[in-house]
């Protein structure tokens, strides 16, 4: 349903999307995972015909995004990262605008409007202007709107950003049922690791390039077993000791010492009993996509301080290039 071949989008000398190739099958939930400024939104913009690719090709539902934008637009629904509602109109009016511009016949429109407004829990507020809505409500309305015309392919750009956990799981349930009942194909971006685990397949994107692409399970397998975090009285000595005794690669940060190992449960007891440095705390967990991202890029996904390059990218995006 979605095919991208060597897709590039450059803004002056910034390579926001730098040769990505992937394909998404019908009924699949495919996720783009990466930090802010990695090129996720730009990729969506190109796929949704909002931007022309600098080079490379992409097709949606069999239609080329550069040559046949009209049919591409008819096939897709979009839920944007930033609000895109008319806040002077009511919830119903926003949906009517959408329904009419997508040419949905009135009876169908009314029926689906009710169904969707009930799903996102906004039926009671349907006659209120959107400017009176909270951020979460706007987002929910936007999701309802994106689904109104029953798109074959749904693009979700950070779909549940800023939503409470209850609404989030609500929306995920709905997305899964859409996929199961109507075989909708879903392309989503996120920088939440736990959310990415809802996907059938994930591509990890960093600096405009796909660094890995697989199922969440396979990606997690890259980490090589479980992740153990240690806190000791003398981290330096502990690292040295681990290196000498187990020949393991470790990583140190402010949270402690991290190591990856198969069968962590069995490893811990014998490790503690024979370790000479005093251990203050030890923690074992299954690898998450966070660990995968860290492993592949050497950085944590939600680094608070964006590098200068990241800032430049998000600046370019804000200017709407």
């Amino acid at each position: 349903m979605i095919v991208a071949k060597d897709l590039c989008k450059h803004f002056d000398d910034i390579k926001a999307v730098d040769g990505v190739t992937f394909s998404v099958e019908k009924g699949e939930i495919f996720g783009f995972l990466g930090p802010n400024g990695a090129g996720k939104t730009t990729t969506i913009n190109v796929l949704c015909t909002l931007m022309k690719p600098t080079s490379g090709e992409a097709s949606i539902n069999g239609y080329d995004v550069s040559k046949d934008p009209y049919n591409v637009r008819r096939s897709i629904g979009l839920i944007f990262q930033d609000p895109s509602l008319d806040d002077r109109l009511t919830a119903t009016e926003n949906l009517d605008f959408h329904g009419m511009i997508y040419n949905i016949p009135k009876p169908t429109r009314e029926e689906r409007k009710k169904e969707l407004l009930e799903m996102v829990d906004l039926w009671d507020r349907r006659k209120d202007q959107v400017k009176t809505f909270s951020g979460g409500m706007k987002r929910r309305l936007e999701i309802a709107r994106g689904l109104l015309h029953q798109p074959r392919i749904l693009f979700l750009d950070e779909p549940t950003l800023g939503l409470d956990p209850q609404t989030r799981s609500h929306i995920w349930n709905y997305i899964h049922s859409l996929r199961d009942e109507q075989e909708i194909t879903i392309f989503m971006t996120t920088h939440y690791m736990d959310e990415a685990e809802n996907c059938d397949r994930i591509a990890i994107i960093d600096y405009g390039k796909i660094v890995a692409s697989d199922t969440p399970e396979e990606l997690k397998r890259l980490v090589g077993g479980d992740v153990i975090t240690l806190k000791t009285t003398d981290d330096e000595k502990a690292v040295q000791e681990i290196g000498e005794r187990y020949n393991l690669h470790v990583r140190r940060d402010e949270k402690g010492i991290h190591l990856e190992i198969e069968n962590g449960e069995e490893f811990i007891p014998q490790f503690i009993s024979s370790f000479s440095t005093k251990i203050n705390a030890i923690n074992l967990r299954r690898p998450t996509l966070d660990d995968v991202f860290l492993k592949l890029t050497g950085r944590e996904i939600r680094k608070e301080e964006a590098s200068a390059r990241d800032k430049m990218r998000s600046h370019m995006r804000m200017r709407g290039h």
């Binding site: 931007m51 009209y70 637009r73 979009l78 944007f80 895109s84 109109l89 605008f97 511009i101």
Partner: protein
């Protein structure tokens, strides 16, 4: 589908227009103030050959209202861009042309409403209107607004934010307004200003309005209309092209 999209785009603007009561009142109050204060102030020192200054000013104020309403309605696209709604429009399966035409027609509609309200002030300034005159004026407003909204769309399609808008306001819209013959007759101006006046579409709009309303005009009515139709076609073509290329 083309006209349906035009209708939907246009209706949204009109719905917003009526929802913003303060905006409607403001856009009528401003020209009314001009008319009352400027008109009364200059009435004592200015005698046109065919009546009072307020009567001379009245068609000019209609022209001014149409200018501002048209341009503002078109640049609302910049707001839509900033608040994200433009993307909703741009990813919809409708042609860019239908979006541009919808926006243009909504500008015309708003101008006709506001111009119509100004017309209702005519008894205050001692201008007598007949139904025929009113129809002619509304037609002229439509034509003028079509051209000016297209001009506004052209500007808006090139602008990312409101920062550049002041520049356009000061160096394009205000001069258009001041050099249109809305306030004073153009005969006495030096040559270089006259050239500017003669390429200003609003000059022809004001001239035609004045001709229809109080029977005073510089150019023949057909000249005025031909110039404006030409300008409207040119602007629409350029604006639609600019708008289609965007993104």
């Amino acid at each position: 589908m083309f006209w349906k999209a035009v209708y939907v785009i246009c209706m949204r603007d009109i719905r917003r227009f009526f929802r913003e009561k303060s905006q409607v009142i403001g856009s009528v109050a401003r020209p009314a103030l001009w008319l009352v204060i400027m008109g009364t102030g200059f009435n004592t020192i200015f005698r046109a050959e065919s009546g009072t200054y307020t009567q001379f000013l009245f068609p000019g104020i209609i022209g001014m209202t149409v200018l501002f309403t048209s341009v503002f309605s078109a640049v609302s696209i910049i707001w839509d861009r900033q608040f994200g709604f433009l993307r909703e429009i741009l990813v919809a399966p409708v042609s860019r042309t239908s979006v541009a035409v919808g926006k243009t027609l909504s500008g015309c509609f708003q101008s006709m409403i506001q111009g119509g309200i100004i017309l209702a002030l005519s008894p205050l300034v001692d201008v007598h209107l007949t139904p025929v005159i009113i129809v002619e004026v509304l037609f002229l407003i439509f034509l003028t607004s079509f051209a000016l909204t297209s001009l506004g769309l052209l500007i808006a399609s090139r602008m990312e934010s409101f920062e550049g808008f002041n520049l356009i306001m000061n160096f394009l819209i205000m001069p258009m307004f001041l050099l249109s013959g809305a306030f004073f007759p153009m005969q006495g101006l030096p040559g270089w200003l006259k050239t500017l006046v003669s390429v200003n579409p609003l000059t022809y709009a004001v001239d035609a309005l004045r001709g229809v309303i109080i029977g005073v005009h510089e150019y023949a009515l057909t000249t005025d209309i031909l110039f404006m139709v030409g300008f409207a076609i040119l602007m629409t073509a350029v604006a639609v092209t600019a708008f289609s290329r965007e993104m």
